[in-house]
C-alpha cells in the first residue's frame, strides 16, 4: 500500500532533523533521499570520485549561438494559433557563476505543465485538460548581463504517484549551461506562497532551509506588464569550477 502524505511528511521532518544535527551545509539534494521513492534505486552508493585534473575536458563546455534559438522560443504563449489559457506571467532573472559573474550567451531551456497542471506528454494522463494553444517548452540565450526572460502562463499543480494524494507544487523546470560542463544545472523554480511547498518531497530533498528558499522565485510587481501579465524574478547561480577559476588560483 502506498504511504500516506502524513508518513511522507514525517520522513521529511526526520530528514531535516538529521541534516540539522549533522551541522554541515549542503546546497544540493542528497541523491538517495528516501521520501522521494524514485531515488531509491537510482542513486550511486559508492562515493563520487574526485577529479582535480586542470586538463579535464569538463572544465570546458558546449557552445550555443543564434542558430540554436529563434526569437519566439522565449515566448511560450505565441507558439500556436490561439491564446493559451491561464495567468500570463513573465519569468526573468540572471544566470551567474559562484563568483557573481554573469554567464553570457549560454542556453537556458524551460518546460512546464499548462495552467491546468497537465504536461503535453503522453505519460501524463491525469484528468486535467490539455491546452491546444500551449505546449510549455522554451529556450533562450542569456544576454551580456546573464539575463534570461520568458513569457509564459503560470503552471498548475498536479498529482503524482509517490504516495497517496501526492501533489507537485506549481513549478517550471530549468536547464542551464555555464562556460564549463561542470557547471551544468537542471532544476525547478517554484512560486512564492504556494501552500504545497512543505508537502513536496522533491523540493524538500534540499534539506538546507536557505538553499531551498533559493528555488522559490520572488513576485516582482515592477515586472508586470499593464493589462497583460504578472512577473516573477529568479536569479540562478551555477555551481562547479570553470577553467577561468583555475587560472585565478582557486
Amino acid at each position: 500500500m502506498p504511504p500516506t502524505q502524513q508518513s511522507i511528511s514525517e520522513e521529511i521532518a526526520r530528514e531535516h532533523e538529521a541534516y540539522a544535527r549533522a551541522g554541515s551545509v549542503r546546497h544540493h539534494p542528497d541523491r538517495g533521499y528516501a521520501p522521494y521513492r524514485s531515488s531509491l534505486l537510482r542513486h550511486p552508493r559508492q562515493p563520487l570520485v574526485a577529479v582535480r585534473d586542470p586538463e579535464a575536458v569538463e572544465l570546458s563546455g558546449p557552445a550555443f549561438g543564434v542558430t540554436d534559438v529563434t526569437e519566439l522560443d522565449g515566448d511560450l504563449t505565441r507558439r500556436h494559433t490561439g491564446e493559451p489559457l491561464g495567468e500570463r506571467i513573465v519569468v526573468t532573472g540572471r544566470v551567474l557563476d559562484r563568483a557573481g559573474r554573469p554567464v553570457r550567451g549560454q542556453l537556458v531551456e524551460i518546460w512546464q505543465a499548462n495552467a491546468s497542471g497537465r504536461y503535453a506528454h503522453q505519460r501524463d494522463q491525469h484528468p486535467a485538460p490539455l491546452d491546444p494553444n500551449f505546449t510549455g517548452a522554451g529556450r533562450q540565450l542569456t544576454d551580456d548581463q546573464g539575463t534570461y526572460r520568458f513569457t509564459t502562463v503560470k503552471p498548475g499543480a498536479y498529482p503524482w504517484r509517490n504516495h497517496t494524494n501526492a501533489w507537485r507544487p506549481a513549478h517550471i523546470h530549468f536547464s542551464l549551461f555555464g562556460t564549463a560542463f561542470t557547471q551544468r544545472l537542471v532544476t525547478q523554480m517554484y512560486f512564492p506562497g504556494d501552500p504545497l511547498l512543505p508537502y513536496d518531497p522533491i523540493l524538500q530533498s534540499v534539506t538546507d532551509d536557505a538553499a531551498r528558499a533559493r528555488l522559490v522565485a520572488t513576485y516582482d510587481h515592477d515586472l508586470s506588464v499593464p493589462e497583460q501579465s504578472l512577473g516573477y524574478r529568479w536569479d540562478i547561480v551555477l555551481d562547479g569550477p570553470a577553467a577561468t577559476w583555475i587560472e585565478e588560483g582557486r
Partner: protein
C-alpha cells in the same frame, strides 16, 4: 555566491530537451564515425527508460571550444532544422528508449581518450558525471583511470563490439556500479 540547488529532470522533459539528431555528433556520413551505445540500469538491474545523457568532447583536432548549431532551429517553422552536416559541435544529447538504451555516433576526441557524460533521470535529484573511455588510445597515461581501484576501472571502459562500435552501460547502483565523478 551560494549555488542554486539541483532538482530532478523528472519524467516530462521529452518535449523540451531532446532534439532530432541529438546523438549524431559526427558530421553526417563522416568516414571516421564511431558508434557508442549501451543501456542505463538501476540498482535492481532494470532499464531506466526516462534517462537523458549529454555528451561533451573535444573535436578530433583537440579543440575544446565547441561550436554552436547542435540545436539548429528552422526560422520558418520554428521547429528543429537539424545539425548542418558539416560542423562538429562536440555536444550530444540523447534520451534512453523504453529498454533503457541509448546510442550516439561521433568522432573520436583529440588529445584525450574519453567522452564526458552528464546523466539525468527521473528519480535522480542531482545529475551525475562519468566518462566513456574508448579503447585503443593510451589509457595507461590517464590520471583518472590510474587513480581507480582495478575492480572499478572497468566500469569506465567502453568495449569494442565490432570495428568502430563500442558498448558502454551505465549502472546507477549495485555491484557493478559505474564510477561517477565529482569536480567541485
Amino acid at each position: 555566491m551560494l549555488p542554486t540547488p539541483s532538482q530532478t529532470v523528472g519524467p516530462f522533459y521529452g518535449y523540451a530537451l531532446p532534439f532530432p539528431g541529438g546523438g549524431e555528433i559526427a558530421p553526417a556520413g563522416h568516414r571516421d564515425t564511431v558508434a557508442v551505445h549501451g543501456r542505463v540500469l538501476d540498482g535492481a538491474g532494470e532499464a531506466i527508460p526516462d534517462a537523458l545523457l549529454e555528451v561533451w568532447q573535444p573535436a578530433p583536432d583537440g579543440s575544446r571550444t565547441g561550436a554552436p548549431g547542435s540545436l539548429r532551429r528552422d526560422p520558418v517553422t520554428g521547429g528543429f532544422a537539424g545539425r548542418d552536416g558539416v560542423t562538429f559541435t562536440g555536444f550530444g544529447r540523447v534520451a534512453t528508449d523504453a529498454d533503457g538504451h541509448y546510442s550516439l555516433r561521433t568522432l573520436a576526441p583529440g588529445g584525450v581518450p574519453y567522452l564526458s557524460v552528464c546523466l539525468f533521470a527521473r528519480g535522480l535529484l542531482h545529475h551525475l558525471f562519468t566518462r566513456i573511455y574508448l579503447p585503443g588510445a593510451d589509457l595507461a597515461a590517464d590520471p583518472l583511470l590510474a587513480s581507480l581501484e582495478p575492480g572499478r576501472r572497468g566500469t569506465l571502459l567502453a568495449a569494442e563490439e565490432a570495428p568502430g562500435t563500442y558498448r558502454f552501460d551505465l549502472r546507477l547502483q549495485g555491484p557493478e556500479e559505474t564510477v561517477f565523478l565529482d569536480f567541485n
